[in-house]
């Protein structure tokens, strides 16, 4: 799980082209949006695309619900892990 979290941190940095942020700077439980890392609505769109590309996660209807998993690296890791096991 920790490996996956590190991988996801790197994915966030690369997909969103973040500057002055390294994997070590991101706390897994810290909010990614608004507070914490300060991501915004456009980043949410980019992140959705990146997850589809890297893990084949397709968000269908009720995507608002699914995107609650975007809150932090911890919850993202759960989403990706559950998708891998499914």
């Amino acid at each position: 799980m920790n490996e996956l979290k590190t991988e996801l941190k790197q994915l966030v940095i690369d997909a969103l082209d973040l500057e002055d942020v390294t994997v070590d700077d991101i706390d897994s439980s810290e909010p990614l949006f608004i507070d914490g890392l300060g991501l915004d609505s456009i980043d949410a769109l980019e992140l959705g695309l990146a997850l589809q590309k890297c893990y084949g996660i397709k968000l269908t209807a009720d995507s608002e619900e699914t995107r609650k998993h975007f809150a932090s690296i911890d919850s993202l890791a759960e989403l990706v892990a559950s998708h891998k096991n499914a």
């Binding site: 969103l16 082209d17 973040l18 500057e19 002055d20 942020v21 700077d25 608004i34 300060g38 915004d40 609505s41 456009i42 949410a44 769109l45 980019e46 959705g48 695309l49 589809q52 397709k58 968000l59 269908t60 209807a61 009720d62 995507s63 608002e64 995107r67």
Partner: protein, 587 residues
């Protein structure tokens, strides 16, 4: 303009009370519901002792009902694009009450919902006065202070009428689905007023994600999508995939759409993407469907011209109060009184993913922070369009930078801006410098600032091994530039070219000339103008490692040509012309 515009008659005696006005979740709201809700809002706001009311709703149906209620109560709606503390404070000085979703504000009444009792909804309602000051929209002014733009009901109606005439038949009674808020003029017109006027239902929730819009379209016989380049550029899809649902029309506005995203939209939705160009001050101006023709065509009744001195797009429009030419903040090439191409902004208003932001306002706010001595904000275009900041810090803050690190400081400055600017326009890249880079005239050329943001990796690897060192920016006019360069011996191009007598290859010189021209002449020589051929190219003298020389570039837009010359005083190393595709002749 008709005597009694259609927007003024939406709530008059109704022959089809069961016809749907909006869809919320899986429920349909009818014209009878709408009328009743609007009357409830009228009753709730009639007694407000002010002519102007600040309005913010997330739900478009509730918003529309409140808007009509306010109009029947004789009030003007001041539309707020956001609820940032600075916006609420600003608006509070101009209104007597707020309606919609607000925290309670001391001193001003907030009405979040009307009493639900139906009141006299059975009889006939009069038409509204077309000259009623219907709405005020807030937009970024070029000086940094927000501007209030008032609109009469008749102005809104004229615009809606233009769109209805052009696209009404094509859209029919399709369900209108949107990814933009109705609190801005684009969403107000396209998600709420145009559907109301054309008798087509609209979705009351804004679809923040593509998946939500697609889910709504399933099972509908026909839909219209009201969206932006921000969404179309990031629409999840498989290569060659088709959207579920039936799409009668896809509308995009707030910023120009990249050609490849227009192509994607056409293939994916099965209809060309119709782009609208307009602004809060001017209303709608023009449209295009890039997969058919990438030049903008004005809406019926609007004429354009170009200011000879400034290059500004001028327009005459029935949507403007004045009959004289109106000068916009956009530069343009104008091909006829109805056709033009946009070349970028003239002022310091930037569009960040469709959101308008005044760079001056951002600089002013940053200057008020104790850590900042001098500051410039600029726009960068990479993976997304974003703002960036170059700042000179006060000595104590420079010490903090060393001890606490860059992230702590940039986060503090971002927070300092966040009550005043929406998050997508907040700067994502920061450079702290000893001095702002100035040229010989004491000006700070945009290009100097941009170079500070070239990819760090690329900058260290590329700058020294693939690019010349710019020693001095001699001078630049609209079509000419001259820079002094040093050809560093470390350039990769000298390796093996030739052993024992290294010289700078001719193809590298051509490459530099083109790269510099694209940088300096900006959108005059855009990416769409691909290199086509060379003319009269001569390499007279070899350029040796370590050489200092001047590069002079002259753009001849009317002939789609770029002249270049590498020289040092009388010694000319090389010269010639490059011809580019597709630079269209301006009138």
């Amino acid at each position: 303009m008709t005597e009694s515009p259609r927007l003024a008659r939406i709530l008059c005696a109704d022959s089809a009370p069961e016809r749907p006005v909006a869809r919320r979740g899986n429920d349909w709201l009818t014209r009878a519901d709408f009328r009743q809700r609007a009357m409830a809002w009228q009753a709730a706001t009639e007694q407000v002792p002010a002519s102007r009311v600040g309005v913010y709703f997330t739900d478009a149906y509730e918003f529309a009902a409140a808007l009509y209620g306010l109009w029947y109560a004789g009030k003007t709606a001041l539309l707020m694009g956001d609820r940032l503390p600075a916006t609420v404070d600003l608006v509070a000085g101009h209104v007597g009450a707020f309606i919609g979703e607000f925290d309670d504000r001391p001193g001003l009444p907030v009405i979040s919902s009307p009493a639900d009792k139906p009141k006299g909804t059975g009889g006939t309602l009069p038409a509204l006065d077309p000259e009623h000051p219907a709405v005020i929209v807030l937009t970024s002014g070029s000086t940094g202070a927000p501007k209030m733009v008032p609109m009469a009901l008749s102005q809104l109606d004229t615009e809606v009428g233009m769109h209805e005439q052009q696209w009404g038949a094509m859209a029919g009674r399709s369900l209108v689905i949107g990814t933009v808020s109705h609190q801005h003029i684009y969403g107000l017109v396209w998600r709420v007023l145009w559907p109301l006027a054309g008798g087509r239902p609209f979705v009351s929730e804004v679809c923040r994600y593509a998946e939500d819009a697609l889910a709504l379209a399933e099972g509908e016989s026909s839909c219209v999508l009201v969206t932006t380049p921000t969404h179309l550029a990031r629409w999840p899809h498989q290569p060659g995939g088709r959207a579920p649902g039936n799409w009668a029309m896809v509308v995009s506005s707030t910023a120009p759409l990249a050609h490849r995203h227009s192509e994607f939209g056409h293939g994916y939705f099965g209809v060309p993407v119709t782009e609208l160009f307009g602004s809060s001050e001017t209303g709608g101006i023009a449209w295009r469907q890039q997969t058919i023709d990438d030049v903008w065509t004005t809406l019926e009744g609007i004429d354009v011209s170009r200011d000879r001195d400034t290059g500004a797009l001028l327009l005459k429009s029935p949507l403007l109060a004045e009959d004289d030419w109106f000068e916009t903040g956009d530069r343009a090439d104008v091909y006829s009184h109805r056709r033009f191409r946009l070349l970028g902004r003239l002022d310091r208003i930037a569009k960040i993913e469709g959101k308008r932001v005044s760079l001056s306002a951002m600089e002013n706010r940053l200057s008020d922070h104790e850590a900042v001595r001098e500051v410039r904000a600029l726009v960068l275009t990479g993976k997304r369009t974003e703002t960036a900041v170059v700042a000179v810090l006060e000595p104590f803050a420079r010490d903090r930078l060393k001890t606490e690190g860059k992230r702590v400081l940039t986060r503090e400055l971002r927070n300092w801006l966040s009550g005043h600017f929406e998050s997508p326009v907040l700067p994502r890249r920061w450079r702290f410098v000893e001095q702002l880079p100035r040229n010989a005239q004491g000006k700070i050329p945009q290009y100097y600032l941009e170079t500070l943001f070239e990819k760090t990796a690329a900058a260290s690897a590329n700058a020294t091994t693939r690019h010349p060192v710019v020693l001095k920016h001699w001078w630049q006019t609209e079509h000419q530039v001259c820079v002094r360069l040093r050809v560093a011996p470390e350039l990769v191009f000298f390796q093996g070219h030739f052993d024992g007598f290294p010289v700078l290859p001719g193809v590298v010189q051509l490459n530099w000339a083109e790269a510099f021209a694209r940088k300096y002449f900006g959108d005059r020589l855009a990416c769409r103008n691909a290199f086509s051929r060379m003319e009269a190219v001569k390499f007279q003298e070899p350029i040796r490692p370590g050489r200092e020389l001047s590069m002079a570039l002259t753009l001849e837009p009317e002939r789609s040509r770029l002249q270049f010359r590498f020289h040092d005083g009388e010694t000319v190393f090389s010269s010639g012309r490059m011809v580019f595709d597709g630079v269209q002749e301006p009138v």
